[in-house]
Symmetry: C4
Subunit: 295 residues, 4 copies
């Protein structure tokens, strides 16, 4: 998986990167499978979504013992049917792109493979077929398929904002991890195995539970000192929660304020950044072309 196929960029898979098909049946396959602009391509994509959702539902229901007891054979048949269809699709995708290895190593290529592997691996490790649910990630294609151009743009905007903040968030996370290790160790010393803090890894798990305000309550401090430390941790975690939120808010706000109206340009003086409601250029007074909604 190369760098440019990180989780947030692949929403619009760059067809060119996978190579142009040579023509003939490969071109037809390519058009149906990878493009969503033709009726056939659209039908293929919708059928794929239905298959993915159906397949995930079957895996879910199959895990309920009562349903498994009654519909076990049916579920097995459906699961193998879905897996065979997805395998065929995977082979078809590999065969019609010019650079199959590039597809196989792309974000969606890996997801497509992960979606079929568990069923085959379940021959070796029985419980593993539940992992087939990873195929729900294939629905990321949904955004492309339904031509939700605006949604793709939003996705891209979210991704860019998160990427821009990733260093701040990493620094913050590394800080939190250090605090959590120190605090977990402290609680292990103070409370000890008798109160459920069986060892340091468990105490660190508890510290994460507490700092993130999840608070399962399966392990709780019992001593006065432990509760005092826990109280400080909770207030600390509460305040700390403000930091990632602040980072992302600042990034989003700056983009929202600076970025949004930059596409609206005055045809007379070429000034940019006009209000979406504006009818006249606020810099030279020339009339602005009508804006398009949903852009």
């Amino acid at each position: 998986m190369d760098h440019s196929s990180a989780p947030f960029t692949p929403v619009v898979p760059d067809a060119r990167r996978l190579g142009r098909p040579l023509g003939g049946w490969r071109l037809r396959f390519y058009t149906v499978i990878f493009e969503a602009d033709t009726p056939a391509g659209r039908a293929f994509d919708l059928a794929l979504i239905a298959l993915i959702l159906g397949s995930v539902v079957v895996v879910m229901l199959d895990s309920v013992p009562a349903l498994r007891a009654r519909f076990g054979p049916l579920f097995d048949t459906l699961e193998w049917g879905f897996t065979l269809l997805f395998t065929l699709e995977y082979v078809a995708r590999l065969s019609c792109v010019q650079r199959p290895l590039r597809y196989a190593r792309s974000f969606f290529g890996v997801i497509d493979l992960l979606a079929i592997l568990p069923t085959y691996l379940s021959f070796l490790v029985p419980g593993l077929h539940a992992l087939m649910d990873v195929r729900v990630l294939r629905l990321l294609r949904l955004f492309r398929i339904l031509k939700l151009g605006a949604y793709v743009a939003e996705y891209g905007a979210l991704g860019r904002a998160l990427m821009a903040s990733r260093r701040k968030i990493l620094v913050f996370l590394s800080f939190v991890v250090m605090v959590v290790v120190v605090m977990g160790t402290l609680m292990y010393v103070v409370e000890g195995p008798a109160n459920g803090f069986a060892n340091i890894p468990v105490s660190v798990y508890w510290a994460i539970t507490t700092m993130t305000t999840v608070g399962f309550g399966d392990i709780t401090p019992k001593t006065e000192l432990g509760r005092l430390i826990a109280s400080v941790m909770m207030l600390l975690g509460w305040g700390t929660l403000a930091v990632p939120t602040g980072i992302v808010s600042a990034e989003f706000t700056a983009r929202r304020i600076h970025g949004r109206p930059s596409t609206r340009t005055c045809p007379s003086c070429l000034s940019e950044g006009h209000d979406p409601e504006a009818r006249f250029c606020s810099d030279c007074g020339a009339p602005l072309p009508p804006r398009r909604y949903g852009g």
Copy 2:
């Protein structure tokens, strides 16, 4: 329910959409029931609020076995009294608008119907009468009734900001749902039914509990690997929590900052809300007086 009556727009029900009454008793009824500007209309609305609150309190108290045992018949009488009054009101509303079907399909019309249905349905399904509590939603009228003009504006502002962010929030939610399905499945495989992760739907429920930092603690990981995955999920959920907050914050902040100078009025066309940087009116093209800072 047509599109324009989505949850956030109906706070100021557009009387015109329901049709003008024909006159006579229907006009008088309409004035009393739908308008809040006359003394009679205001008295009607206040009585309605009292009835709604009283009715909700009765349903709540009725559900407490100790009180039910003592005041059961009284509660039943009150409930039927309230329901009859609301039914009469519903019929009156239907009869005095020009387009009864339009009212019946509007947001408030559906709420009004839902507020009386459960009592009648409780003949068929006994436990259902508790659902009468949906009539608390009728208090949404409160904002109109008490002439809380400013509050209505705030509601509208909140609604518009959320509507503007709805695509980003939907994209975010769809991403969270995928993560939660994959993580829940993973935990089902790792922990298994022996540790409370009975099946995949239950594991997904647990994953939602964890990612949203609710953390009931009725199901908790017991294995080392499970706790490691849970720790990653909690830190992930913590960071992810920043995203919707950031989206809404950015929207609110942009509106608060850009919306602030709404006191900046064009002396030519009297339009408001010009950008602080604007030199010409964006509505009529007339030059704007220079803005004052710090306003």
Copy 3:
């Protein structure tokens, strides 16, 4: 308690509102008790803080059975000593202001009274003396006493920002209360008393627990449908959490961006809003006077 003494304004109690003292011993008392600028006034205030903290600590320790058994008589003596001192102080405050009733009805007057009442009331209702802890609120004076001018300003800024957002927050809270009543009722119908949802008030309490992401776990859904509804509620509550945060963030951000540097004025062109680090006016190039820190 009149309107102008709401929780966020009284940090700087407006001495003039309590009336000027007449002179003689009342003036001396007033200077010592209400002013913090003289050495005597400062010593009085510091002694008061020590008494308040000591008194709260005694009440807290007194509630621990092991300590109560050993130091009971000592705690009782101390508690009565503190209460008598606070009573004397309250009488002195009443006697040296020109308008005693106005003081008695002010925010701090009510707090001062509440701080001594519980001890006396504990003659009638034994357990009540623990409520003496309300006297910790008297520490709000701390900000005035320690001349923490900057802190008072921060407090005021926080208060103003919250006051400015109070309508939005009220609208939001009323919306949350309605959702919580409807959801709680729904869960009562779905889960019922057998699964811990004993009655509607308890179910509403559970709904609040869930929507606010607290999640005690004393009551949890057991049925599939209940868990599905709970999942939706958690995701809803998670998204909803973004709304108050967004409101307050927007208010703070707008104030931080527009408000902060507005006090820095260019002496040459009188333009405002210069950067705290700026040495020359960014509008006319004239040198700016050096800024004062901590302002």
Copy 4:
């Protein structure tokens, strides 16, 4: 530990403050230990990171009884080995700086000492050696070591933003502590020891648990009144959570928006970070080139 070595400033330890080494072996030692620019210094730093991580992992694994039973002697040997190495390093650091006391009292000097003390103290107090995990804090050097210049800048930016908001956060925390003491006392009176609220400190601990939305669930209200108060507290805590987030968001946003144009450089004095609206350099008064929008 002097004031200037507060947790957020020491990421770039100001070598000058620790004194220039005299030359000879001290200079060579200094270059290897404190500098990261030479190959030897870099190798030393990487070895140090490996030692720190290895040491923390050993302490963690040592706390697991099953592993302790099997690898106890190995863990003990490794722990003493790590401690001896760190002690040697500490002595070397002390010996090669010009002002050893200044280093010993600096932020990293204290951390370095705390990292070796627990092992020696475990002779006196057996359980204490787990506290060795505090040496994970030594990884704060990581940012310097790996030459992650950008990360250091992010750390500094985070730190400055938090420092700028520290007064607001302190005021907020003091307010929360008061609320929590009053609410905890109230719950102790309402619920009492019979329902788990054993004494006031425990009740305050519960109040913190609830207000911060952690909600362990080890102590929960059982009475109607207690649940009502808890509901109010949860909604209050939910709304209150918005305040620190808003404070930090506002600070980050203001820095992000104002700090953005740091690419705007004065052509005369080369100072950076001018306001987007500025027409003259705020540092030397020279006219600035007109800014470009959308940058």
